[in-house]
Amino acid sequence: MYTYDRKGPKRGVALYSYSAEFGLTKTLEDCFEDVHDMGAHGIEILANTHIENYPYPTDAWVENWFRLCDKYEVVPVEYGHWIDSHVLGGRELTTEESIEMLCRDLRLAHRLGFTVLRTKMPVINAALEPVENWREIIKGALPLAEKLGLKMCPEIHTPSNLNGKMVREYVEFIEETGTKNFGLNIDFSVFRSKFGEGEWKDPAFTPNVPEDIVPLLPYVYCCHAKFIHMSDDFEETTIPYPEIVKLLQENGWDGYLLSEYEGADKYDPGYEVGQTLRKQHIMLKNLIGD
């Protein structure tokens, strides 16, 4: 199996970015090749999107998965999945049912060679606060995660703030349990400090400064390298990337920056998100120096 030994921040791509093209004009192999073209070595998939016959892929599909990883020199980094506790309209899943769903994903992530999971919690309100029994659900899956060497990471995404209640509660959970199998994925949307004329800004959102990530780094196992506007000279104009990457390097952080493009224009007919990703990877490559 392909391995990439570079230390420090490394480049990767979240295949979510290809949402508008995947299954229509791009196959999974097309996405892998595009990532390879960029010289990136990490990948994030969405289990419910990119795994054929999820949650029960065939052995042949899994074999092909590893063939793609080897051929395109890609490391399975982050496995995106959901704890879908609201999946039934009439009632919530019980804690046990949610644990069962979560463990099924842990086993599948491990089978595909992943080490980190972006574990999306079911939410209870517009502030995106997780369900009240999230601690019990995670605790129920910790023994299996430990056995399989996996880290479950909720994503911290705008309008959440790195200094806010949600992050504080996750950190308290990590410190109380002492677990190495639960952590954070920081989405760089939290650092977005510039909004253009007429662009919607969530009134609940206060941007973080790059330094805010430093105390969290021991618990950060992956980052979403969110980008909004890449200029034609390959700069992100809304998120202070040079400062963020420099801080990650200075603090010895080792992990993947997974590019994730959420712009709705990717659904425009003819839009090729790969070209937008390449713009960002020119910037990241220059900042990281790989």
């Binding site: 419910n48 704890i83 209870i124 995106l128």
Partner: protein, 146 residues
């Protein structure tokens, strides 16, 4: 798979024991991730003005037919966004040769969206705000029966 939600391939009359008993068409999931069947909220089909309620439409995944009440409690069967679902409708004699205008509404829930937004989902009406990655609820297409 075609970009349109209602696929042109798969639209035909269906025959049982030599008799035309209805018609079928395929739809793709206009969402960036798959859903479990219990997340689906099927709505109404209108063909040339004729209304077919959700109870008259049978969804098929992987060759298996699912009744509405089965789908509502099935959170283990998954609909992958790269594979269209087949919708079968009973109509003795099927649809006539020529053009047909189809309008079909369906939507789905998401555990990571605020519950207040989920409670008001209506498959036959568009959401308050259109988000491309959730697609339209109501889709239309004009297609031919041979």
């Amino acid at each position: 798979m075609e970009r349109e939600v209602i696929q042109s391939v798969g639209f035909r009359n269906t025959v049982e024991n030599g008799e035309v008993t209805g018609f079928q068409f395929k739809i793709r999931l206009p969402y960036y991730r798959g859903v479990f069947l219990s997340q689906l909220r099927p709505g109404t089909l209108i063909v040339d003005g004729e209304i077919f309620t959700k109870e008259q439409i049978t969804w098929c995944f992987g060759g298996e037919e699912y009744a509405l009440d089965e789908m509502a409690v099935d959170f283990k069967t998954h609909w992958n966004p790269t594979v269209p679902a087949v919708l079968k409708v009973k109509k003795p004699g099927g649809l006539a040769q020529g053009w047909h205008d189809l309008t079909y509404g369906f939507c789905f829930t998401s555990s990571y969206m605020p519950p207040a937004l989920q409670d008001t989902l209506d498959p036959d009406k568009e959401s308050f705000v259109f988000m491309p990655e959730f697609g339209h609820h109501v889709n239309q297409r004009r297609m031919l029966i041979v």
